[in-house]
Symmetry: C2
Subunit: 214 residues, 2 copies
């Protein structure tokens, strides 16, 4: 296990070096199954593709269902099937990257396997981990799965359109997040009602610019 | 990894032997984070405790939040903190069982760590795996995380009260489940509106009786 983590970390460092040279931003989306990562990408990509060269790495245990949903958005997609594994590792990211022309990219968004636990443990060469938590999952998720929220640089609180129909204690949620990571910005979003998408896209654009001048 | 799985399987077989002798049914609840396993237990326990001796094993990465929610229902609770691990293993179940008087129990319900992937891979000595999928997670979860649905003996489709507010293709969901496991019964439930709880409790009661006469 220790040597596996070591090998993963070394490969992640290599990927970081390459992406630094190429000035390509890489963002790692992590959430529970069904929190809305793919829906978020469906809303995000149309707002980016005219200004930036974007690519997506789709991580899934099996199937290409999410990859198919993103077909037609005009971005290259590299699919990783983990064959049962519950998270992506840097060795698969290296392979996934090999199908892209890094000289022509500004941004790579990774959709990790749906899992709140293990993906947070593996650095896969990304610049930022972005946590996505949907409101019906409950406000206790940060407290119960703390590592992701400690590691993340942004928290997207998705499906806020469902707030009228569920018990979701926003104050508890925000306070628990603050306890774990005082600097973690939270963007409330609804992919259904197009709320917060522009703010999230602005966050990405700012990070793309930072990476160019890094 | 292979020897870890082997050790887990051997310990699971030991647990199965003990529970067979003691005629105690053990059910393993598996779901994504926030699918409603604890809420389901909050609705289930009051319907069982007058007739049966029930205990709960709470699996969590950290915290005793779920265990606390189940305080006051009159059942002994054994908490397992996995310290970061994304699933329960039989070695922890053995320890958790040691705090119960098995001669006085009819049913043990395990609430596994919130994760659709890894818990399905580990036999922990249970009689049945029960999958819980909540409607806001989306109808594509069985197809995307097939192992759990192949391993499960019952599928609880929770949070059906949210159906009017979300896109959830029931027919697609049911068909995908059938493809993976033709014998998997589905019970639609709403903990909020008390739908399907009696059916689930009946399922448990039937299995308790089967275990007694096994």
């Amino acid at each position: 296990m220790q040597s596996l983590l070591q090998a993963n970390a070394e490969k992640a460092a290599e990927i970081k070096d390459i992406l630094k040279t190429k000035k390509v931003l890489m963002v790692n989306l992590i959430s529970s199954p069904g929190a809305g990562k793919t829906s978020l990408l469906e809303k995000t990509l149309p707002k980016l593709v005219d200004k930036y060269n974007v690519a997506v790495i789709e991580g899934d245990v099996e199937t290409d269902l999410d990859g198919k949903r993103l077909d037609g958005y005009g971005v290259p997609i590299s699919l990783i099937n983990t064959n049962g594994a519950c998270h992506l590792e840097s060795i698969s990211i290296e392979k996934a990257l090999s199908v892209f022309d890094l000289d022509k990219l500004d941004l790579i968004i990774i959709e990790n396997v749906g899992n709140l636990v293990c993906p947070a443990e593996f650095d896969i060469g990304e610049d930022y981990k972005v946590a996505v938590v949907s409101t019906p999952e409950g406000a206790d998720k940060p407290a119960k799965y703390p590592l992701l929220f400690q590691e993340a640089s942004l928290l997207i609180n998705n499906k806020i359109d469902l707030l009228p129909y569920i018990n979701f204690d926003k104050e508890f949620f925000t306070n628990e997040v603050k306890k774990l990571n005082g600097n973690l910005p939270i963007i409330p979003t609804s992919c259904k009602n197009d709320i917060g998408i522009d703010e999230w896209v602005s966050w990405l654009e700012q990070k793309i610019k930072m990476k160019k001048t890094d």
